[in-house]
């Protein structure tokens, strides 16, 4: 018998007044998997996460977490969840360790046990040497790691991460990804939101692409790319303001094109061959790049817009 899904949402809606931030989504997350919500600003990612985190009641639709109903069993669900909110919510004036202990107390974990776990978790996020320092002067990446350590204080089996690495530099992001990957290996189910396609590709077994409160596609990163994009992409840069005109001249090259303000994207199974053809047309670009398709391209295809602008 297959285990029941950890999260089930059917026709889930969240309205603020007349505005539907989440406009009816269906989601299932299995135990042990790592699941992502990918979408641009305002897609409804945080609103969805807050409903799953049982701090925001759904307007309509069905939602079950651990098989429980957030409306009636919110406390029990929250006791078993770890939450990394979009904003860190740390007490800047308290030390790193104090932040963890205070938070552990909200779960009614005895103080001594909180301290023991805090030491273990700070070791896990590689911040043992900062345990006694105030949070305020820490870098963004360190604060994020403190928040992740804090979210694990109740030893949750399901961890919700709302944009875990937004605003961090590449190195800090990789450190975080590595820690999250370890958690996943320990069997913790990860549910995260992101508007970075590379993050989704790194961390998610499966994801949904959200836009305007709706799910526009679902699958593994690889299958989404296969379904909605070509193998390769040829990026062409022309003199400013001439993209439209140039694109017109090469319109029949490749399977499909996207004309962005700063470049023309040619979708094709063979980027080098397409570039060769472009040169033969006397439409040589200022610069060009052949790359593999990514979730960014999937998003562009599905919504006509870029993820991060």
């Amino acid at each position: 018998m297959a285990a029941a899904p950890l999260i089930t949402a059917r026709g889930l809606v969240k309205r603020f007044g007349d505005f539907a931030a989440v406009a009816g989504i269906d989601v299932e997350v299995e135990s042990g998997e790592s699941f992502g919500f990918l979408g641009p600003n305002g897609a409804g990612k945080s609103s969805t996460m807050r409903m799953i985190g049982c701090v925001s009641p759904p307007t309509s639709g069905e939602l079950r977490i651990f098989g429980l109903d957030p409306v009636t069993d919110g406390r029990e669900i929250r006791a078993r969840l770890g939450v990394v909110p979009q904003q860190d919510q740390l007490d800047a004036e308290l030390t790193v360790e104090e932040n963890l202990v205070v938070y552990g107390r909200y779960f009614d974990i005895p103080r001594a046990e909180c301290r023991r776990r805090a030491a273990e978790l700070l070791d896990f996020v590689q911040l043992t040497d900062r345990a006694g320092s105030k949070v305020d002067p820490l870098s963004g990446g360190m604060k994020r790691r403190v928040t992740i350590a804090r979210s694990l204080i109740n030893e949750p089996s399901l961890l919700l991460l709302d944009e875990p690495t937004t605003g961090l530099d590449p190195q800090a992001r990789h450190v975080l990804w590595d820690r999250l990957y370890r958690l996943k290996q320990r069997g913790v189910t990860l549910v995260l939101t992101t508007h970075y396609m590379d993050e989704a590709e790194q961390l998610c077994d499966r994801l949904v692409v959200m836009d305007g409160g709706r799910i526009v596609a679902e699958g593994s990163p690889r299958s989404l790319i296969q379904q909605h994009s070509t193998r390769e992409v040829l990026e062409l840069r022309y003199a400013p303001g001439t993209n439209e005109e140039r694109a017109h001249a090469i319109a029949d090259i490749g399977d499909r094109q996207e004309v962005l303000p700063d470049r023309v994207l040619v979708y094709t199974h063979d980027g080098e061959a397409a570039l060769h053809e472009v040169h033969e047309r006397d439409a040589a670009p200022i610069s060009s790049l052949v790359r593999r398709s990514s979730l960014e391209d999937v998003f562009l295809r599905l919504t006509g817009r870029t993820l991060v602008d």
Partner: protein, 273 residues
């Protein structure tokens, strides 16, 4: 992972009440400044009593007619119990503005709490408990200072402390409920300037409200401060009648109770929607 949690924490452990666990955070944050804060609880009353009680008091006590007006006591004895209550009001009002907004919009600490098994109502109760703690320290510190003066060294001080706490909460809870609905602090200075300071000046602390124009007296009488002042002064000077004591206490209790309900509702809306 959850089963190991239960084993290690122990199945039969008696937990700490939720409001106390919320209160622990405030205590820890306050712990950074407790020395200066405690010093303030003693210094401020001493300054007020020296300046108003002894300085202004010397003038007032020498004026013909004032002993009758003040009920036959020195000006120091007249204002000291009232200042005790007013100090609790001041501390509680301040604590209910910016620190609350911090929990909702700057540090978002209260949102963090709401993501744990704590309910918004329990968070609200924990905050109320903290306001009460601040009021106890403020009123208690003031009472200890009053023991130093012959005119105010009475058993009534023991009653003045809980009166100060109730008055503090009568302000703290409604103001906290208001702060919980705000997205910025623009209205806060006005609350202090046009609400708290005039109350401090005109609700019977420095002179009997009978001195006010008849039209203004009812306004002074609806403030929790006036009821707290009447109670504390009556208790310390031994002039309180049973009916007056019951009436003033009932008003304060009603303010505190209504404030707690408003607070819980405001926290529920802010943290759970």
């Amino acid at each position: 992972m959850t089963s190991s949690t239960r084993n290690r924490v122990g199945r039969n452990r008696v937990g700490t009440p939720p409001a106390v666990r919320v209160w622990e955070r405030s205590l820890l944050l306050h712990g950074r400044v407790w020395k200066s804060s405690l010093l303030g609880s003693f210094l401020q009353p001493l300054l007020y009593l020296a300046g108003m009680g002894l300085g202004v008091g010397a003038l007032v006590d020498a004026t013909t007619g004032s002993p009758e007006l003040l009920g036959g006591v020195s000006y120091l004895a007249f204002i000291a119990p009232a200042l005790l209550v007013a100090a609790a009001m001041m501390v509680c009002a301040q604590d209910s503005l910016w620190p609350m907004l911090d929990g909702f919009i700057w540090s978002e600490a209260y949102k963090g709490m709401a993501a744990t098994p704590l309910t918004p109502g329990q968070v609200s109760d924990g905050i109320a408990l903290w306001h009460a703690t601040r009021a106890v320290v403020t009123a208690g510190g003031f009472a200890i200072v009053l023991v130093l003066f012959d005119d105010t060294r009475t058993w009534g001080l023991l009653a003045a402390v809980p009166v100060g706490v109730a008055t503090g909460l009568a302000f703290a809870l409604p103001i906290t409920a208001w702060a919980a609905t705000r997205d910025g602090d623009r209205s806060f200075p006005a609350i202090l300037r046009f609400g708290i300071i005039p109350t401090f000046l005109f609700a019977g602390v420095f002179f009997p409200i009978e001195q006010l124009p008849a039209a203004i007296q009812p306004i002074a009488m609806v403030t929790p401060l006036w009821h707290g002042v009447e109670l504390a002064r009556g208790a310390v000077l031994g002039t309180l009648s049973a009916p007056a004591a019951s009436l003033h206490s009932a008003v304060l209790v009603a303010y505190v109770f209504a404030g707690a309900v408003l607070c819980r509702r405001a926290f529920g809306r802010r943290l759970g929607s």
